[in-house]
């Protein structure tokens, strides 16, 4: 059992759905799907394991906006892509106290999507001017909005098999 396996076990206990994905096709090693309540636990766990934060962003989907977190490690070949749907009120707990770089990323995400990060020390517009604070330019128009399953990799015959073989 190597370090990545132990990490997968621990992440699974958050609880979260953790999938090992094919790096050559996806560009990251682990996909983590979790609830907003677990995001801080995830960040704490990765902070303890000396991961760094690559970015925080979001994608507008149906039924909810999903906030994206990418972490990577200077030591382990392990890039993690985590996704969490924001709760109904449109809020997400901040991780900027653990990963200070998240401060700006969360401000940008608020600019672009209107996601409010609770506990953020200074959630003011970053890239947009103050008068456009409620513009939320990256939200999709009604007709363009897609559901989560439309943007998920379809379990096609050829796509699903190689990772399955790897596990064996």
């Amino acid at each position: 059992m190597d370090e990545t396996d132990r990490l997968i076990d621990d992440l699974g206990g958050l609880p979260a759905a953790v999938n090992r994905v094919d790096y050559r096709r996806r560009g990251f090693h682990l996909e983590v799907l979790l609830n907003a309540e677990q995001v801080r636990k995830l960040a704490g766990m990765l902070r303890d394991r000396e991961f760094y934060l690559s970015f925080v962003s979001a994608v507008h989907l149906l039924p909810a906006i999903e906030v994206l977190y990418q972490f990577a490690s200077f030591a382990l070949p392990c890039r993690i892509m985590a996704r969490a749907a924001v709760t109904e009120g449109g809020t997400m707990p901040t991780i900027s106290d653990m990963f200070h770089g998240a401060n700006w990323h969360e401000r940008e995400t608020r600019d672009m999507f209107g996601v409010v990060f609770t506990g953020h020390p200074y959630l003011e517009p970053l890239l947009l001017p103050e008068e456009d604070a409620d513009l939320k330019p990256l939200l999709k128009a009604e007709g363009e909005l897609k559901t989560v399953d439309k943007i998920s990799a379809q379990p096609k015959k050829d796509a699903a098999e190689p990772p399955a073989e790897e596990e064996r």
């Binding site: 996806r26 760094y52 200070h100 770089g101 001017p129 943007i151």
Partner: protein, 371 residues
């Protein structure tokens, strides 16, 4: 302005640095709270050059967004484009011919040297040393000439294509590149005498700031600044893309993480770039440089990420596809954005003139931050 009327209060004043200040290297504004010559707080104010690149990415086809990628980090435009074509190829499952990958590595590394040379000249200019930029620009000019011959442009290159590169390199390109390698190797001695051993330079940059590995993790610091803290992390080595795994090169690191070490890391990195280019030229495979791809390229639904090592650190593209020929979501992670975010922490109680040195060391490209 405040006057000293008592000694119990902090007598501070605010100072706007930028958005049109030469040493912010672009339209960056830093709001400074000062106590005399000392910085109490610094708050970068971004967005002056915001063009909403990510929205543009969602409103045109994959291929049509390509020219935008070279306008993010325009000093290392080829490397930015490299990441983007890599991402599309990764998602579409397109195999790139080996010759094209080698040409990409050669041109990307030339671009990286050009970027470091521009940084070197500008960094010393910030410091008040005017002469070095004349030397570095003379060297950089050779690179621009070489790249112009094959790409057709001198700054915002759009040379890579999904499936390869736009046109093959010829004997003249190879010959000129080999000449350049010889030339630059001879110039390092000049830079050593002119800059590295210069006592004024050393006194201005040594120990004015300390970047630490923990700080790097907290802020997502990458690139030469991260390596100056002693962490050997380079995407070209840690997650090799393109043909980088086929070359023998070292990743230079420092120990204490200050401006001087970041400077030395960059200088030594240029030597390694030359080694990579040399090996690639020696072993350049024969064959086509571009595979045919469908005119209307549809990517399968799903998401993928692609990271490249730019001259400033990790540039990551993350895209979500809904199966059409237009991206559903394209996120661009710029190294300068994360690198700059640690400025408020490191520059507290620092002399204003030292803050200029730290900004120079960060090697910022503002359009890449504002996107």
């Amino acid at each position: 302005m405040t006057t000293a009327t008592g000694n119990q209060d902090r007598h501070s004043f605010f100072l706007n640095m930028g958005p049109q200040h030469p040493s912010t290297h672009g339209v960056l504004r830093i709001l400074l709270e000062m106590d005399g010559e000392y910085v109490l707080e610094a708050e970068p104010v971004l967005g002056y050059g915001h063009r909403i690149q990510e929205k543009m990415g969602e409103s045109r086809t994959w291929k049509a967004f390509m020219p935008n990628t070279s306008r993010l980090d325009y000093v290392g435009a080829l490397i930015c484009t490299h990441g983007y074509v890599g991402l599309i190829e990764r998602m579409a499952g397109i195999e790139v011919p080996p010759r094209a990958e080698y040409i990409r590595v050669i041109t990307s590394e030339l671009n990286r040297i050009g970027s470091h040379l521009l940084w070197l000249g500008a960094f010393l200019l910030d410091l008040g040393a005017f002469t070095p930029i004349m030397y570095t620009f003379d060297d950089r000019e050779q690179i621009l000439d070489i790249l112009e011959d094959v790409t057709g442009s001198r700054l915002t290159y759009c040379y890579y294509r999904v499936g390869g590169v736009n046109r093959d390199i010829d004997e003249s390109f190879i010959e000129k590149t080999r000449d350049f390698i010889r030339r630059l190797r001879g110039r390092f001695k000049i830079y050593q005498d002119l800059i590295t051993d210069n006592i004024i330079f050393i006194k201005r940059v040594r120990d004015i700031v300390r970047f630490t590995p923990d700080m790097a993790r907290r802020y997502g610091l990458t690139g030469p600044l991260l390596r100056s803290t002693g962490i050997r992390y380079d995407i070209r080595k840690n997650e090799p893309y393109s043909a980088y795994s086929e070359f023998d090169f070292e990743v230079p690191v420092g120990t204490t993480g200050d401006c001087m070490e970041a400077y030395q890391v960059r200088i030594r990195e240029m030597e390694q770039c030359l080694r990579i280019i040399e090996q690639a030229l020696d072993r350049l495979p024969e064959g086509p440089v571009l595979v045919k791809t469908p005119r209307k390229l549809k990517l399968p639904p799903g998401d993928a990420s692609f990271s490249v090592e730019t001259a400033r650190g990790e540039l990551a593209y993350y895209l979500v596809s809904d199966g059409s020929d237009v991206p559903y979501r394209l996120k661009i992670r710029s190294p300068c954005f994360s690198n700059l975010s640690l400025l408020p922490e490191v520059c507290r109680d620092m002399l204003l003139s030292d803050l200029v040195m730290v900004l120079g060391t960060l090697d910022l490209v503002i359009p890449a931050i504002d996107r």
